[in-house]
């Protein structure tokens, strides 16, 4: 059974329709990556699937229950979301911010239990942000900050983690570190990961399932081998790509590409 499923989704901002008649199932305990050109509606879809924004038509069902009906706090125990551009956290310290990941698990009075503190510590540790624990988030670099926001999502301790471009701002090593961390969480703890990525080679390498979007529709979805191909990339991005095989991972890799002109 698939836990999270959307059918015939329509999402609008005001009277502008962004996503029309889109159906998708998120494979459980797998890593799903959404790719597609800027403005095609990736973030919009991600937000709708996580009830951050409402959808106008169609249904989104999690564990057999419409997400519109489920209490939002209950959802927050199942789904963590990292938005594309989190707002400034001001003078909150890293430790304070990440502690709010425990919010959905706390009662009204919100004392952090020993277990809460352990998970916060773990989230800081695996994202390499422990050192900054008492620093204000705004005093960190862009990449350090990004890792703090990821720590916040991890501290939420959910089965499903949705991340919108979690690797922006990160240097190459840290990009890989975050992706490997997510892969590790997926492999060892069976967490379902859904993320938007722009780096096709990262998508190919880490995804079990890729969703290729354009103009608010899913053009094609499937395993890397079916999506990171010359014709699909041409349709998605108007690029003429040279696809090879990564000698280390055996996954498809985009070696070089040109824009398709006069198409």
């Amino acid at each position: 059974m698939v836990r999270l499923q959307a059918k015939e989704l329509q999402i609008r901002y005001g009277d502008r329709t962004i996503v029309e008649n889109l159906s998708v199932s998120i494979p459980d305990e797998k890593i799903t990556v959404i790719i597609g050109p800027n403005g095609c509606g990736k973030s919009t879809l991600l937000k709708a699937l996580t009830r951050i924004i409402p959808h106008q038509n169609g249904s989104i069902v999690l564990d057999g229950e419409s997400i519109v009906k489920e209490p939002t706090k209950g959802l927050a125990k199942k789904i963590a979301v990292l938005p594309q551009t989190p707002e400034s956290a001001g003078a909150l310290t890293v430790g304070e911010l990440v502690s709010y990941g425990r919010f959905p698990h706390q009662n009204r009075f919100g004392r952090l239990t020993k277990r809460d503190l352990e998970i916060i510590d773990w989230a800081l540790d695996v994202t390499g942000t422990k050192f900054f624990k008492s620093h204000p988030v705004d005093s960190l670099s862009g990449g350090q900050r990004q890792r703090v926001w990821i720590a916040l999502a991890l501290a939420q301790e959910t089965d499903m983690i949705f991340l919108d471009e979690p690797t922006t701002y990160l240097d190459m090593a840290h990009q890989l570190e975050i992706l490997e961390l997510l892969q590790h969480l997926n492999a060892t703890e069976k967490r379902t990961i859904v993320m938007v990525l722009h780096d096709l080679n990262h998508a190919a390498r880490f995804a079990d399932y890729i969703i290729g979007m354009k103009f608010g529709k899913i053009v094609k979805s499937g395993p890397s081998e079916e999506i990171i191909t010359k014709p699909v990339l041409r349709e998605l991005f108007q690029i003429d790509a040279e696809i090879g095989e990564d000698p280390r991972t055996g996954k498809p890799i985009c070696i070089t590409y040109n824009l398709v002109r006069g198409d």
């Binding site: 989190p86 400034s88 001001g90 909150l92 919010f103």
Partner: protein
Amino acid sequence: MLNYRIQRIPYSIKLGMSVILMMVLFGMALAFGAADTSVKDVLSALLSTAPNDQAIMLREIRFPREVAAALVGAALAVSGAIIQGMTRNPLADPGLLGLTAGANAALAITVAFWPSVNYFGVMLTCFVGAAVGAILVFGFSSFHPEGFTTLRIVLAGATISAFLYAIAEGIGIYFKISQQVSMWTAGGMIGTTWNQVLLIAPIVLVGIIISLMCSRQLTILSLSEEMAVGLGQRVRLIKSILFVLVIVLTGASVALVGNLAFFGLMIPHIVRAIVGTDYRHVLPMSAFLGAAFMLLADTLARTINAPYETPVAAVVAIMGLPFFLYIVRKGGQSFS
């Protein structure tokens, strides 16, 4: 950035110090005034029931007045902090958002048409007026399809406040009641009785306690609405609760002391510079420092030019300005 030396002091110590500061200033407020009394007089007035003049003056005039000052200071500071967090707007202040002007206008209308209004009526009037003022400001600023932004709220707040003040003034002149109205609105804590304090105190205390219980919700909301939804907050419900809290706290304060521009803006800024922007820390600290500041302001108002009273609003402005400029100069980043 935040001063790291201040920042490294544990929060519990900072909070403890603000409580001590408040208590010391409370003692000072009781001891100093137009009628000079000593610490010993204060203690004996509190501990005995001796019917001498001084003890009665302390028990019936100065004591309720200073309790009122502490309550109002705490209420204004907490409501200022809430409204700044909610709107993510460092310039938000109950005074800038039409609450004070609304209460003012309502007060003028009530005094004009119901001159014999009792204190309870005045308080109710202030609540209703504050609510109407705030709803007008938020209503107007959310006309725009993108909803309310910092700039729009400030502009709408300034415009509608000016409009409401004009109404209050017009009514005051027309019905020749300007003096009575300004007795309420500019009077500060003069003449506060125990009855008034006992009416307001439960409202303010309950308001502050509920605010403290909402402090984590407020921090999350101050990050962004998306973040708040993602973390499982019922954003609409929480916003409504916070909104009501601000109206109740501000309304109660205006009923007691009238207009105190800047206070709700200034204290949370000072507090954030000391404890950061986690509202779990900001709200309690705002309550205590707000109370402390107001006690100091009222003591000064009573003593600078004794036996005449200086308007407490003027004292607040003069005391607050240098502080405020200093904070602004250090950079507004201490706001989330």
